[in-house]
């Protein structure tokens, strides 16, 4: 899909503040409400905007603990990635799965109600995942910035 300057401007402002009311977003991007809605529609149809879902605040739902678990897999098993990811999808406390090129193969974002719950999830559901060679944990203290903004 070919993007022009207006598409980029609309996207830049939308990504910088996705919760802005549409009229204000149109103002910031310097387009009319009709143009804004047409451009956003085209960006969705063209697959540039993939999804616009609600953000869920897990802490507000009582999940106080968030841990980033970084795995190195035993790649002597040809299906190590597929098996591991399929099993990780079955764990309800896993909220994100990412694969990497680097020292880390896979990262799981795991949430838990408290440390006791985390301990239980970790022992019963995480350590039992297939083909783990190495595993290390980063416990989230605070999120300082979390934006989808791109320097367009």
């Amino acid at each position: 899909m070919q993007l022009d300057e207006t598409d980029r401007r609309v996207l830049r402002h939308y990504l910088a503040d996705p919760d802005l009311p549409r009229a204000d977003l149109a103002d910031r991007a310097g387009v009319t409400a009709a143009t804004l809605s047409r451009r956003l529609g085209r960006l969705r149809e063209g697959g540039v905007i993939r999804s616009e879902g609600a953000r869920i605040d897990w802490r507000r739902l009582g999940y106080e603990v968030e841990v980033s678990l970084r795995f190195t897999l035993d790649k002597t098993f040809p299906r190590a990635f597929d098996d591991f990811i399929a099993a990780a999808r079955e764990v309800p406390e896993v909220v994100a799965i990412e694969t990497f090129l680097g020292r880390v193969d896979v990262r799981l974002n795991v949430i838990a109600r408290d440390m006791a719950h985390y301990q239980e999830v970790y022992r019963r559901r995480i350590l039992t995942l297939p083909h783990i060679a190495e595993l290390e944990a980063l416990m989230l203290i605070s999120t300082i910035k979390d934006a989808e903004a791109l320097p367009l």
Binding site: L61, G102, I141, P151
Partner: protein, 152 residues
């Protein structure tokens, strides 16, 4: 913290996929009247559980072919250097996410770049020059998948 029933959880699952589903549509899907669905959504918003929208874009289509996660260890400790680091790192446009973590690293950063050469520029000119930055580990993101989490 508010109590959720199965209908609330179903609403959260639906809204996490598409923040623009109308109350009428949610009502039809989950056997509620339009006003009842609207009231439930409103309650979830007021409790802060629905915390705005998350827009996902095809970064490659927008010219950002590379996403890298950096683990950053600070070289010097202390309150002042943490604040200086956080202030400076948030201002870098290519840095989308900054998390303070406990473990092997002090911070996790998500960095977008046009290509590997552009990433090297960001790393050398912007990241390595941050106040207090010490050891840095980079892993290039290959795939990412958001999971519904414990809403089932």
């Amino acid at each position: 913290m508010i109590d959720l029933d199965d209908t609330d959880r179903a609403l959260l699952r639906a809204l996490a996929l598409d923040a623009d589903v109308s109350a009428g549509e949610l009502g039809r899907r989950f056997g509620l009247s339009q006003p009842a669905a609207w009231r439930r959504v409103r309650r979830l918003e007021e409790a802060g559980i629905l915390a705005g929208r998350r827009v996902e874009v095809d970064r490659t289509a927008l010219g950002f072919g590379v996403t890298v996660f950096l683990g950053v260890k600070l070289a010097t400790r202390g309150r002042v250097s943490l604040e200086d680091f956080e202030r400076a790192v948030q201002a870098i446009p290519e840095v989308q996410v900054v998390q303070h973590v406990l473990g092997l690293f002090d911070y996790r950063l998500r960095v977008v770049a046009r290509d590997i050469a552009d990433f090297e520029r960001v790393l050398r000119r912007r990241i390595m020059t941050l106040p207090g930055v010490g050891n840095v580990e980079a892993n290039v993101l290959l795939t990412e998948e958001r999971r519904p989490g414990p809403l089932g």
